[in-house]
C-alpha cells in the first residue's frame, strides 16, 4: 500500500475510431458511448448534419453538451442557423445549452443576430440577450442597448439589461432609466435597474 507507480504506461491514445464507427455510435443506447462519439467527431465536416439532427431529440444533457461543443467548433452560418432554431424550444435546458453554444461562435452568430432580435417570439429574443451576454463581438453591447431601447416586451428588456450589467458604464444610465419609464408596471425591471444604477 502507499504510492504505487502504474506498471505500464497508460495505453497510448487508443487509435481513434473511424468516422463511420463514430456516426454509428451516435445512436448507441449507452449515453457515454454517444457522448464519446460526439466529441470524437470534432473537426469532421461531413458529420455536421448528423450532429445537428441529434441535438433536439437527445435526452441526456451530457450527450447534448458534447454535441454542442463539437458543433460550436464549426463556426459557420449554417450551423448557427440550425442551432438557433432551438432557441424557441419548449425545453428550458435545451434552449439554455444552445444559447451557451451560440455565444462561443463569434465568427457566424453576428450574421444572424439582427434576425433573432426581430424574432416575433419574445422568448427567442430573451435567449438572444443571453447569447449576446457572452458573445465576444464588438457589436454585442450595441445590440443589447438596441434591445433595451426598442424591444416592446418587458422580459426581453430585462434580459438585455441583465446581459449588459457586467459591462455597464455611465453612458448606459439614461438608457436603463428610460427602460423603466417605458415599463412602469414591471417591478422586476425596476428592481434590476435600481440595483444597477441606483
Amino acid at each position: 500500500m502507499g504510492l504505487v507507480r502504474r506498471e505500464q504506461q497508460p495505453a497510448e491514445a487508443k487509435a481513434a475510431p473511424s468516422v463511420e464507427t463514430l456516426l454509428r455510435q451516435l445512436d448507441d443506447p449507452d449515453p457515454d458511448c454517444r457522448r464519446e462519439a460526439a466529441l470524437g467527431l470534432d473537426g469532421v465536416a461531413e458529420a455536421v448534419p448528423h450532429l445537428l439532427a441529434r441535438v433536439g431529440p437527445e435526452t441526456a444533457s451530457t450527450v447534448r453538451d458534447a454535441l454542442l461543443t463539437t458543433l460550436a467548433a464549426h463556426d459557420t452560418t449554417e450551423v448557427a442557423e440550425a442551432l438557433a432554431i432551438h432557441l424557441a424550444s419548449d425545453e428550458a435546458d435545451l434552449r439554455t445549452s444552445v444559447a451557451e453554444a451560440l455565444s462561443t461562435m463569434p465568427g457566424s452568430v453576428p450574421a444572424i443576430i439582427p434576425r433573432l432580435i426581430d424574432d416575433p417570439d419574445h422568448d427567442v429574443r430573451v435567449m438572444t440577450a443571453m447569447v449576446l451576454a457572452d458573445l465576444a463581438h464588438p457589436g454585442s453591447l450595441t445590440w443589447l442597448a438596441d434591445m433595451i431601447r426598442q424591444d416592446p416586451h418587458p422580459n426581453v428588456v430585462t434580459a438585455a439589461v441583465d446581459a449588459l450589467l457586467p459591462s455597464l458604464g455611465p453612458e448606459h444610465t439614461e438608457l436603463l432609466r428610460d427602460a423603466v419609464r417605458r415599463f412602469p408596471d414591471d417591478p422586476f425591471l425596476r428592481f434590476t435597474v435600481e440595483a444597477a444604477v441606483g
Binding site: 504505487v4 449515453p31 461543443t69
Partner: protein, 289 residues
C-alpha cells in the same frame, strides 16, 4: 516593425500565428499578450536558425520538423509554480475528498484498483510531488490504500525537468524544513533533488488537454487537479477541455480548478460542491443527466 525580421511581428503575422497556434493547442493569445508572444517567437526563430518570421512560420506549418512546434509550445506556455501552492486545496483533498472517494468505492481494503490522482498541467512537477508529500506525511490511510499519481503537461521540456525533480529555493520555500531533510538531497548550486522513490512513483505524460483523441488514454481518475490553465483558453477550447476532463474521471470524481477559475462559466456538465476549504467540481455519480 517588419513582417520578416526578428524585430517583431506585423499585425498580419501575429494574426496568422495566433490562428495557427489556437488550432493546434486551443490556447488563444489576445492583443494584450503581443509583447509576451513576440519575444518568445523571436527566441524560437533564433534558436532554429531561421532568417525571419516568414521562413520560420512556413517551416512550422509545412515541414516535417515537429520539433519546431514543440519548441514553440514550450516557449509559450507558462510554467512557473512552486511546492504546496494553494495548499488549502490539498487540505480539502486530505480532509474531505479522499475520505469520500474511499467511502464511495467501498472503503480501504475493499476497493478494486488504486485511488488515481491526475495533475494537469503538472509543469515542472511541483504539484504532483506536493500531492505525494502531503499524502505520505499527513494522510492516515496511505498505508492501507494504493494511490497512483500522474502528472501531465503539453510542454516536453517541463516534463524533462519534472522527471529530474531538482528544485531551487523559490520552488521549495513552502516546504517544511523537516520534509526537505527527509525527502530532498542537495545537488549543488543551491538546488535539491527529490527522493528517487517519490520521483519513481509519479508517472508523467505529455498531453494536450484539448485533444480528445489523446485524452482518451486517461480514464477513471478519482481526483484531477487542473489549476490555472483553463484561463488561457477561449470559451470553445475550455468547453472541450472540460469535456475531456469529464471523460477522464470516474463518476463521482473530483475536479479542482485554480482559485480564480469557475466551471460554471465554462460548462454545466460538472456539479459544484462547496467544501469547507472551497469549491470543488464533481462528475455526477448517477447515470447521464
Amino acid at each position: 516593425m517588419t513582417s520578416s525580421t526578428t524585430a517583431g511581428l506585423s499585425a498580419v503575422d501575429f494574426e496568422k500565428f495566433r490562428e495557427f497556434f489556437y488550432k493546434r493547442t486551443g490556447i488563444q493569445f489576445t492583443e494584450s499578450k503581443r509583447y509576451f508572444v513576440d519575444k518568445r517567437i523571436e527566441t524560437c526563430i533564433k534558436q532554429a536558425g531561421f532568417p525571419g518570421f516568414n521562413a520560420w512560420f512556413s517551416a512550422l506549418r509545412l515541414s516535417d520538423r515537429s520539433g519546431l512546434l514543440q519548441d514553440l509550445i514550450n516557449q509559450l506556455t507558462v510554467n512557473e509554480t512552486y511546492f504546496l501552492r494553494e495548499d488549502y486545496q490539498f487540505d480539502s483533498l486530505l480532509k474531505t475528498v479522499l475520505p469520500d472517494v474511499l467511502a464511495a468505492r467501498g472503503g480501504a481494503g475493499r476497493m478494486t484498483g488504486p485511488v488515481k490522482i491526475l495533475s494537469l498541467p503538472c509543469s515542472t512537477g511541483e504539484e504532483p510531488y506536493s500531492i505525494a508529500l502531503r499524502l505520505l506525511e499527513e494522510w492516515d490511510q496511505i498505508d492501507h490504500v494504493d494511490v497512483e499519481i500522474h502528472g501531465a503537461d503539453i510542454d516536453s521540456a517541463v516534463l524533462d525537468k519534472a522527471a529530474h525533480a531538482s528544485y531551487g529555493e523559490r520552488s521549495l520555500q513552502r516546504v517544511p524544513m523537516s520534509w526537505r531533510a527527509k525527502y530532498f538531497a542537495p545537488v549543488g548550486a543551491g538546488r535539491y533533488q527529490l527522493d528517487a522513490g517519490i520521483r519513481g512513483a509519479v508517472t508523467l505524460h505529455q498531453i494536450n488537454v484539448c485533444d480528445t483523441t489523446s485524452m482518451r488514454a486517461f480514464r477513471d481518475f478519482d481526483v484531477i487537479f487542473c489549476r490555472n490553465v483553463l484561463i488561457y483558453f477561449d470559451e470553445l477550447s475550455s468547453r472541450r477541455a472540460a469535456e475531456n476532463l469529464y471523460g477522464a474521471m470516474r463518476p463521482g470524481g473530483y475536479l479542482f480548478l485554480g482559485h480564480s477559475e469557475s466551471m460554471s462559466r465554462i460548462s454545466p456538465i460538472f456539479t459544484p460542491s462547496r467544501l469547507p476549504e472551497g469549491i470543488v467540481y464533481q462528475r455526477p455519480s448517477g447515470g447521464p443527466r
